[in-house]
Structure formats: structure tokens, C-alpha cells
């Protein structure tokens, strides 16, 4: 598919409920497919966005379903950029250590895997504090 010169931007705003994860995945899947990614990479992008939004619902909004999650995707010069913004309070990714997988299994810790997966699945993962309550995570996948 010839799409390297294609430029577009799409946006989805949903409430912070796990009920909306299916809709988030569908939105991401269509945008990634339209950008020309292989099925394998579409799957990786969809999972990374699911993990990012799950973390927001769990940690930023602490399962309160009334917050907003704003997802915007754009394709810029072979870079597929996903920006996810929440208003759920400050989140510092630096305090979450990269898990040693073997230790993880031993200690029966089931959290923190989402961030690890996001880094494995995407080319860039960046967290920003926009202001006091607004956080942004930017996920980038290169269209090669």
C-alpha cells in the first residue's frame, strides 16, 4: 500500500471505563490499517494503545468511569503518532521500575506489565505532564 505521503489526523474521546477498551481498539486498528501497517504491526499498535488506556483507567482515574480519555492519531512522514491525554492527576512513570520478568513471576506481581509491553511493542514511548492534572503519553511506530 502506497501511503508514505498520506497525512491524516483522527481523534476519539471516550470515558474512562474498561467498557470502552473495545471501541478504543477498533478506532486504533482502523487508523493503523489506513496508514499501511502490516497486520502484525497493527496488532502491536492496538495492544500498546489498549495498555496505555488501561493504565490511565486504573492508575490515573482509579477506575472512576467519569474521566475523559482523549486519543488522537496522526501520520507524519512515516511516523504514526498516537497521543493519549487524561486529566486524572499526576503520574510519574520513572517511579515504576522496569520489571525483571523472572522476579515478577516469582513474586506473583501482576501489575506493571503494561508499560513494559508498550516499550517492547512501539518504537517510542514518552510521558509528559501537560499541567497539574493533565498527562500525555505519546506512542510512536515507524512505518518502514
Amino acid at each position: 500500500m502506497q501511503s508514505k505521503n498520506k497525512k491524516f489526523k483522527k481523534e476519539l474521546v471516550v470515558k474512562s471505563s474498561t467498557d470502552n477498551l473495545a471501541q478504543i481498539r477498533e478506532f486504533t486498528q482502523i487508523a493503523a490499517q489506513e496508514s499501511g501497517f502490516s497486520n502484525e504491526n497493527v496488532g502491536k499498535i492496538v495492544l500498546a494503545v489498549d495498555e496505555a488506556c488501561t493504565n490511565i483507567i486504573k492508575h490515573a482515574y482509579k477506575y472512576s468511569p467519569v474521566g475523559d480519555i482523549n486519543i488522537s492519531v496522526r501520520l507524519e512522514q512515516s511516523k504514526f503518532i498516537i497521543s493519549i491525554i487524561d486529566e486524572g492527576g499526576h503520574f510519574n512513570p520513572d517511579i515504576i521500575p522496569e520489571p525483571d520478568i523472572r522476579e515478577y513471576h516469582k513474586k506473583r506481581k501482576a501489575g506493571g506489565l503494561g508499560m513494559y509491553l508498550m516499550k517492547k511493542l512501539m518504537d517510542e514511548v514518552k510521558y509528559t505532564n501537560l499541567n497539574e492534572n493533565r498527562n500525555q503519553v505519546i506512542l510512536v511506530k515507524y512505518l518502514t
Binding site: 495492544l47 486504573k58 513471576h105
Partner: protein, 115 residues
């Protein structure tokens, strides 16, 4: 909204959990319920059949991590079977093959319990 289904079957002394659809943070509690039911019934030998599972996120993988030690402490285990390549790749990324057994067919996993 998410389309997900869990079913438990008994095959001899082994419990087989069939998963179908999309396993994410929204549907993972249904899988937890299934494992809690097995614990209530003292069923510790579990095979999870992934044949009809289309998608899994870390919330789903976390469920297996939460229950596997209890199963093993009671002379059981959680073994996996019939996984598609795309689902297996996620387990692989998170290091599961070091600590869990994966089988192509459910029967092989069941046989392993009966050895």
C-alpha cells in the same frame, strides 16, 4: 461491549478452561471468577485452551500469574494449549515460556498431567 466467553469443562481429573474472544482489563474479571470457582472446588490441574481467543492484553496475562502458584502448591499447574501465533507472541514478550508449559493440543497438556 467486549466479546468474551469463559467455559469450564472437566476432563477426568483435569479442568479445561475454554477462552473465546477478547481478553482485556474489562473481561479479565470473568476469568478470575472461573479460577476462583476452580479453587472453591479444589481443582488445581488446569489446562487453558486458547483456540478461540482472538486477543489478550497484560490484564489477561496477569490473571494466570495471580493463580499459578496456588495451583502448583497444590500439586497442580496451569498449562496452555491451542494458542495462535499472535497470542503466543505476547506471552513470549513477557517471558512466560520460561515458567509455563505450552502445548499445541489440549490432549497433550492433559496427558502431561496424567503422566
Amino acid at each position: 461491549m467486549a466479546d468474551f466467553n469463559v467455559n469450564i469443562r472437566g476432563v477426568g481429573s483435569v479442568s479445561v478452561i475454554d477462552l473465546k474472544g477478547y481478553l482485556d482489563a474489562h473481561t479479565a474479571p470473568e476469568l478470575e471468577n472461573a479460577f476462583n470457582k476452580l479453587l472453591d472446588e479444589s481443582q488445581y490441574k488446569v489446562v487453558v485452551n486458547f483456540n478461540d481467543l482472538a486477543y489478550i492484553s497484560s490484564a489477561g496475562l496477569g490473571v494466570f500469574m495471580a493463580y499459578v502458584e496456588t495451583m502448583r502448591e497444590n500439586k497442580g499447574d496451569i498449562k496452555f494449549s491451542n494458542m495462535t501465533e499472535s497470542v503466543y507472541n505476547i506471552f513470549d514478550l513477557l517471558g512466560f515460556p520460561i515458567l509455563y508449559e505450552f502445548y499445541k493440543d489440549e490432549d497433550d497438556a492433559i496427558t502431561k498431567f496424567n503422566d
